[in-house]
């Protein structure tokens, strides 16, 4: 009888132990899941704070360098500045007394490249030596990054003929 009672008690205790262990395991799992979520939320909060800090730094920089940024924006060639640029090149040629001809204007796009598009302008002038060289210097001094692919000067019957292939970065 005593043996039977002891067996029953042992079985009951074992069952209780198994239930307790299961509860503990579930509790640990729950804590782990919650920890993971907390970690994720903390990371997100850090990231948001970092983004906000960066945004704040950018705003401060924009405010302190507003004039420089405006000046820089004015130097960047975008679509609506192309016609005035071409006209100013022609105007410089006229003022120097040169026959000036814009031979072609083309946009070179490379969708695969991260490089900006290129505006390629081919121009020709004819006139005496000094204005021809002054025109070349004026082109070199344009307020953009000047890339000259080709420049040739040749003596002709009356003065000098010059051909320039000019490339400029365009940001549209």
């Amino acid at each position: 009888m005593i043996l039977n009672n002891s067996k029953l008690l042992l079985m009951a205790l074992s069952l209780i132990l198994i239930i307790l262990l299961t509860i503990v395991a579930l509790g640990i799992y729950d804590i782990k899941v919650k920890n993971k979520e907390t970690f994720k939320l903390l990371n997100e909060a850090d990231s948001v704070a970092e983004t906000e800090n960066l945004a704040q730094s950018i705003r401060v920089m924009q405010a302190s360098a507003a004039e420089d940024i405006t000046a820089f924006d004015n130097l960047v060639l975008v679509g609506d500045k192309l016609v005035p640029l071409i006209e100013s090149i022609e105007e410089v040629g006229r003022e120097l007394g040169l026959d000036t001809n814009i031979v072609s204007v083309a946009k070179i796009e490379d969708k695969k490249s991260v490089e900006p598009d290129i505006i390629r302008i081919v121009m020709e002038t004819q006139g005496s030596w000094a204005p021809t060289l002054s025109f070349l210097r004026a082109i070199e001094s344009l307020p953009h990054r000047v890339m000259i692919d080709e420049s040739s000067l040749s003596k002709v019957e009356i003065g000098w003929r010059m051909r320039i292939t000019l490339s400029l970065h365009s940001f549209d």
């Binding site: 705003r59 924006d73 000259i148 692919d149 040739s152 040749s154 003596k155």
Partner: protein, 117 residues
């Protein structure tokens, strides 16, 4: 790019910063170095009596620049002196005068090719 203060949220501001950096990189003054007029000046500074220049050429292909000067030299010695002056200027390398240009002894049409240093 427009008004720098227009983008108010973080993503727009970061996009503005990235684009500005891209523009600054592409338009860096350090890269703005194409000056064919300097090449012309340097050649004119080395001209010798008896050499008449009829042409200058600057060609850039994939960042490699090839220069040439054309003209007429009164005689062989004058032409060789002019070539030597270009060669020893310290501004140019690979100065090449085709030997065939020395066939004539008077009023020699020539083309000297070289690269900037």
């Amino acid at each position: 790019m427009g008004d720098p203060g227009s983008g108010d949220n973080g993503a727009e501001l970061q996009a503005w910063l990235l684009e500005t950096n891209r523009r600054l990189t592409a338009l860096s003054p350090k890269l703005d170095v194409d000056r064919p007029s300097d090449f012309v000046d340097r050649i004119l500074d080395r001209r010798v009596t008896g050499v008449g220049i009829t042409g200058f050429s600057w060609v850039k292909v994939k960042d490699k620049i090839t220069l040439s000067v054309n003209g007429v030299a009164s005689d062989r010695q004058t032409l060789v002196t002019f070539e030597n002056r270009i060669n020893s200027s310290g501004y140019f390398s690979n100065v090449t005068l085709p030997i065939s240009d020395l066939a004539k002894d008077r009023d020699i049409n020539f083309q000297i090719k070289f690269s900037p240093l």
